[in-house]
């Protein structure tokens, strides 16, 4: 691919700007970064607007913005499940998560496992929740690099730098991650919060330009939809004895919506907001990002209409990144060089924001729920904060090794499994916000059966999200996360009933009903 100096200059300029911002962020709304809630939650001082940028940059990751149009490009209507998915997230955010904010604020909880520990008094259950969060998030961090790699390749920047006799593979990624690691270590959650404001500005400019400029070039939306194969424009209808793609679509939307807010990076973003009402206001205003996501999903169809796949100049990109290259190719074809720099910077920086928040969230979990719980229970606040900073480095290094050393397919498979795993914390977390009556050991057995069944189903279907259930002779394709969650709930509730008969649950709850409202 040909490197365009204007595109590269704008791209690198914007990347340098946000790196500088990442370091300056340490002074923003200054707090004592030697405390975990200051480093890892920004001092819980973000108002509704900063929270909006932070959560928007956090929930709508670069991978989403690359993978969703790639799915539309390759599979058609099924890729649009991202829209009902994000429609369903916000009623859940609005109704359930203000309760988590309130109880966490009252008791100083930094992680969701802190809450589970306090609510159910079970170290084992809290450890299960913390470990699930860490394992579900790690491959997600690795996947953020996929979007970044695609745009770096699209700019024509070589992936291997040669200095004298020394060849450094994946050098641009190493540099980006070194910068990310340094300012996250230095500034904590303040860095992605400040960077998110710039990144989202770039993102909205890119999206507005894309939905105005590209359809005009292609002859309007009617022409764009007409260029898509009519068979993939809708979901195939249900056949005899098989609910088909429509049940896959609905369960993917619901399961993904239930899982999203349980991810540690979502919780970290929520708990960093300054008030309960900031969470509710964000449930009202965050859907603006869903509009951007829907527009970006349609870029997949625009890429079909623009015929990027058959264009020889993008063949190398498609060979390297598959359909994930559809949107970068579309931008290269449609935009002037300098604006390609802006759009690609939006994607690359869009990878750094969630990667930073995810690594901070994992670090908080490790520090609070493993280090302080099992390794040094008498650690000082300063030690706690130092351990978290180091843990954030280790997590990022792990993600980097993952993506550099292993085939990309592993990261995608594991991220899929991550969704199946994280949803298993739903009973302990979301039901736990409403009732203390669940027995922690019942929750633990439910969690384990959900993890086992979900992993098995995903593996059986060759690491595709959909596993076909047969219910009363009818075949029901269902998102494995959702069906395994149903099993989890059934096991949990059954065992709760059994344990209630055998022995009454010891009262360990350190929270009160009024802490939640």
């Amino acid at each position: 691919m040909n490197a365009d100096p204007a595109a590269i200059a704008v791209f690198l300029g914007l990347c340098l700007l946000v790196t500088a911002l990442g370091f300056v962020a340490a002074r923003w709304r200054r707090g004592d970064l030697d405390h975990l809630h200051e480093w890892g939650l920004g001092g819980r001082r973000f108002g509704a607007i900063v929270t909006w940028f932070l959560l928007g940059g956090d929930l709508y990751t670069a991978y989403t913005f690359v993978a969703v149009p790639a799915l539309m490009f390759g599979a058609g209507a099924m890729g649009f499940f991202a829209v009902p998915y994000t429609v369903l997230v916000y009623p859940i955010l609005f109704a359930v998560f203000p309760r988590l904010w309130s109880v966490a604020h009252k008791h100083g909880y930094v992680t969701v496992a802190d809450f589970v520990r306090g609510r159910f008094g079970s170290g084992a259950l809290a450890l299960a929740v913390a470990a699930t969060g860490i394992f579900a998030t790690m491959p997600y961090i690795a996947l953020q690099l996929v979007g970044m790699e695609a745009v770096i390749a699209g700019l024509g920047i070589p992936m291997t730098f040669v200095i004298g006799d020394l060849a450094i593979p994946d050098a641009p990624l190493l540099i980006a991650f070194a910068a990310l690691a340094a300012y996250t270590y230095n500034s904590g959650l303040r860095a992605p919060a400040l960077i998110a404001i710039v990144k989202d500005g770039l993102l909205y400019v890119t999206v507005v330009a894309a939905i105005v400029v590209i359809p005009a070039e292609l002859g309007g939306y009617g022409k764009i939809f007409a260029s898509v194969d009519s068979k993939s424009l809708l979901l195939p209808p249900a056949g005899a004895g098989n609910l088909g793609a429509q049940s896959a679509y609905a369960t993917l939307a619901l399961g993904s919506a239930l899982a999203l807010l349980l991810y540690p990076h979502s919780i970290t973003g929520l708990l960093s907001s300054a008030s309960r009402d900031a969470v509710k206001r964000n449930a009202v205003f965050l859907p603006a990002y869903s509009l951007a996501l829907a527009a970006i999903a349609l870029l997949g169809y625009m890429a079909i209409a623009a015929g990027v796949k058959s264009a020889p100049e993008y063949a190398a990109g498609f060979a390297g990144f598959g359909n994930n290259f559809a949107v970068p190719a579309l931008f290269l074809k449609s935009f002037p060089a300098w604006f390609v720099g802006v759009a690609f910077a939006a994607i690359a920086i869009g990878a750094l924001v969630p990667a930073a928040i995810m690594s901070i969230a994992c670090a908080n979990l490790f520090t609070r729920n493993i280090y302080r719980e099992y390794i040094r229970s008498d650690c000082s606040p300063k030690q706690e904060s130092s351990v978290a900073k180091l843990a954030s480095l280790v997590v990022k290094l792990g993600a980097l090794i993952f993506i550099v050393e292993l085939p990309m397919k592993y990261a995608i498979n594991l991220q899929l499994l991550g969704g199946v795993w994280i949803i298993q914390t739903f009973p302990a977390v979301a039901l736990g916000l409403y009732t203390r009556k669940l027995h922690p050991n019942a929750l633990l057995f439910g969690w384990a059966s959900g993890i086992a069944a979900g992993t098995w189903m995903a593996a059986q279907s060759g690491f595709k999200p959909i596993y076909e259930l047969v219910v009363l002779g009818t075949s029901v394709p269902c998102y494995a996360a959702l069906s395994s969650l149903v099993l989890n709930l059934a096991v949990t509730l059954t065992l709760c009933a059994v344990f209630a008969l055998v022995a009454p649950k010891p009262a360990h709850d350190s929270t009160l009903a009024e802490d939640y409202v």
Partner: protein, 72 residues
């Protein structure tokens, strides 16, 4: 259970928060081409419309809650 919120959940609020789930999970109700809007098939513009409707419903519920908690 995700529909219950503050101290006194009302049935009306419950219904407003449940509406997006009913609409979005009833996939056969919108899995069609017509009526098109400016060349965009129904499947696509209808779901886009629900992004706005969902936000509007939450705004209504939030306003009702604030009125009740702070009757001034």
């Amino acid at each position: 259970m995700e529909e219950r919120t503050d101290k006194r959940p009302s049935r009306f609020r419950y219904a407003l928060l449940a509406a997006p789930f009913v609409a979005m999970l009833a996939v056969p109700s919108y899995n069609r081409i017509d009526p098109q809007l400016a060349g965009v098939p129904f499947f696509y513009w209808y779901q886009l419309l629900w992004i706005g409707l969902g936000a509007l419903l939450l705004a209504l519920v939030r306003r009702a809650e604030r009125r009740r908690n702070d009757p001034s």
